[in-house]
Amino acid sequence: MADRGKKGRRIAKKEAVAMLRKADLLELGQAADDLRSRLHPEGIVTFVVDRNINYTNVCINRCAFCAFWRREDASDAYILEEAELFRKIDETIALGGTQILIQGGLHPRLGIDYYVRLLSSIKGRYDINIHGFSPPEICYIADTSDITIRETLAILKNAGLDSVPGGGAEILSDRVREIVSPRKIRSSRWLRVMEEAHGLGMRTTATMMFGSIETPEDIVEHLDAVRELQDSTGGFTAFIPWSFQPGNTELGKGGRGSGTGGRTKKAGPRPPGPESPYGATAVEYLRVLALSRIYLDNIQNVQASWVTQGLKLAQVALRFGANDFGSTMIEENVVASTGVSYRVSMEDIINSIRAAGFAPCQRDTVYRIIRRY
């Protein structure tokens, strides 16, 4: 396996499925680590200083794996006030932040004008990179405003949107999406948004949420779709796999994405729950991470997810294919709503990278080094 990696021959889908199912964890790790050190021979591990700002938690998608969404009439439903938004950005800049990640639910009352105002009000005041609106949001804005995806992206870009986060990809298999997120956009539309964004010169990331009900074939299907698009556009900066966190979610309780139950109504009869109500274990996380590094030979960066895995496993992940520690996450709400909360300081992140044997460096959105520690 390691030899295959060294020769740089591309891994086929069938091989990838076999590796995910059967390969020895340490062999898989070694192959991914070899590839990582070839792509990043300097021995540095990067991170970005940013904050996740969620402008609303109202979402019509109500995915079964998510604990963040609320109905519009829920007592804790919100739309962020402008003053609060600016306060958050001020804090981010004070902490050396270079980027804000703006994402939110699909709120039925917010049209493109809201987003344009939001972006231009930020750009009017701050010199900060806006990484915002994952493909489900872009599509929803396009649909509710009756314009194309490309037009939507062009308008948002013009108003100040710099890059697009890769969220909402979940697993790019419609079989799985039908069960865990039936109202969320299909795989083809997620890919389409990314293709259009890349076409407009915007860089994006790609994510994958695994550990729910998918099979190894679904995971490889996902990796393959991302690799194929990257071959044609080259617009993905990084790949970020993370694992489903079952706490407070419908899926975690054994239900599936009917979305009609949510947390307010009594649940009716449900189809059988996912195979594992515990989510992916550490071993499964590292297997998927390592395979991602091996399979995605055309994506430069792979992120470790300390937010979902904790700092210790994130450190280990740096030897299983990851070369980036993601964001310092001055604020994070979506994973935290599942009850998983690994809050850490920037110092913790720097120390963790160093203790894992790498030189920590702050980067910007497109992976240029800003500061070495």
Binding site: T281, Q309, K312, A355
Partner: protein, 361 residues
């Protein structure tokens, strides 16, 4: 560079202190991990163990005030507590077929502070009361540090103390209090605590009266790699003499609320330490990746790096918690079995002597 070590392991030859040091200093975690996994496979096959246990800490009042400890209190200090025998029995009862019955346990794990006012009878009374109320429950209790203390307050000497405890119902002993044997480190970390040599003396006495024990090493604070190697070598020598150790448990230092500067150990160091322990301690049957201290994620991964045991259900944990432990207080038997299964191993629930209680399919 590890070729010579690899050869030794594959041929079943013992590693030297130099080899051990080289392993601690190597960044080739994949080679070290797979060698350790090989060494473990020869001893335990695909089996990985857990136990249904409950921890009880009778008191946190302690005359030793070790700098790395966030659990201990002085008498009268805020947060100081002492449990009565009745309270201890009440904590165990729901897990031993009592009223409000919960999933059962097979082992009580009891360690606590060296209380300045408790006499030996009080400690002995805890053991005999548990034995009386729950005759089927295995009692694993008291570190070498506590035994040394008892031997002094009882005037019975080491052997007399151990025999009295055994007669009262003590079955096995945990391996705590070993910390790092090297005297320089010990003087810095825990000057009041018994020396490394005394720890070994107590354990030899325990093995001598037929009490099997574990052994531990607290790492990731101020010790050097040489200190770790020294620690492992001393344990291996003693095990050659007595054969009384069941499991070795490397304990990752936790920094919160202690008086030692420093951070958490890295996940990579944790895995390497597990693996090196497995390779060096060739006369120990079991290497335990204690999930309370490593976290369930690193603990599970350890099963691919040479460990064969992840401890148990625990139910209530105070010592690691006090120092910033990040795990939940307990895991169910099903959760433990799930972690083991997903590491590609066969989950075996064990008793306190590593005999099979139940294999989880």
């Amino acid at each position: 560079m590890l070729a010579r070590i690899r050869n030794k392991v594959l041929n079943g030859r013992r590693l030297s202190a130099d080899d051990a040091l080289r392993l601690f200093e190597s960044s080739d975690i994949f080679s070290i991990g797979s060698l350790a996994a090989y060494a473990n496979g020869k001893k335990n096959g695909k089996k990985a163990f857990f136990v249904r246990n409950r921890h009880i800490n009778p008191t946190n009042i302690c005359i030793n005030r070790c700098k790395f400890c966030a659990f201990s209190r002085s008498p009268g200090q805020e947060g100081a507590y002492e449990l009565t025998v009745d309270e201890i029995i009440a904590k165990l009862r729901p897990y031993c077929g009592g009223k409000g019955r919960l999933p059962g346990i097979t082992e009580a794990h009891i360690v606590g502070g060296l209380h300045p006012e408790w006499d030996f009878g009080r400690y002995l009374g805890i053991i005999s009361a548990i034995r009386r109320h729950f005759p089927g429950l295995h009692i694993k209790a008291f570190t070498a540090v506590e035994i040394d203390h008892f031997s002094r307050i009882s005037g019975l000497g080491l052997e007399g103390t151990l025999k009295a405890l055994k007669k009262a119902g003590l079955g096995t002993m945990p391996g705590g209090g070993a910390e790092i044997f090297a005297s320089g480190v010990r003087a810095e970390l825990c000057p009041e605590k018994i020396s490394g040599a005394r720890w070994i003396e107590v354990m030899e006495a325990a093995h001598g009266v037929g009490i099997r024990t574990n052994a531990t090493m607290l790492y990731g604070h101020i010790e050097s790699h040489e200190d770790r190697v020294d620690h492992l070598m001393r344990l291996r020598e003693m095990q050659d003499r007595t054969g009384g150790f069941q499991a070795f448990i490397p304990l990752a230092y936790h920094p919160k609320n202690t008086r030692i500067q420093g951070g958490y150990t890295s996940g990579i160091d944790d895995l390497r330490t597990i693996a090196v322990s497995r390779l060096v301690l060739d006369n120990f049957d079991h290497i335990k990746a204690y999930w309370i201290m490593l976290g369930e994620k690193i603990s599970q991964l350890s099963l691919c790096f040479g460990a064969d045991d992840i401890d148990g259900t625990i139910i209530e944990e105070k010592i690691t918690r006090s120092a910033g432990g990040l795990t939940a207080g307990h895991l169910t038997a099903d959760q433990l079995a799930h972690l083991i299964r997903k590491a590609g191993k066969t989950p075996v629930e064990r008793d306190s002597f590593y005999r099979k209680v139940r294999v989880y399919g």
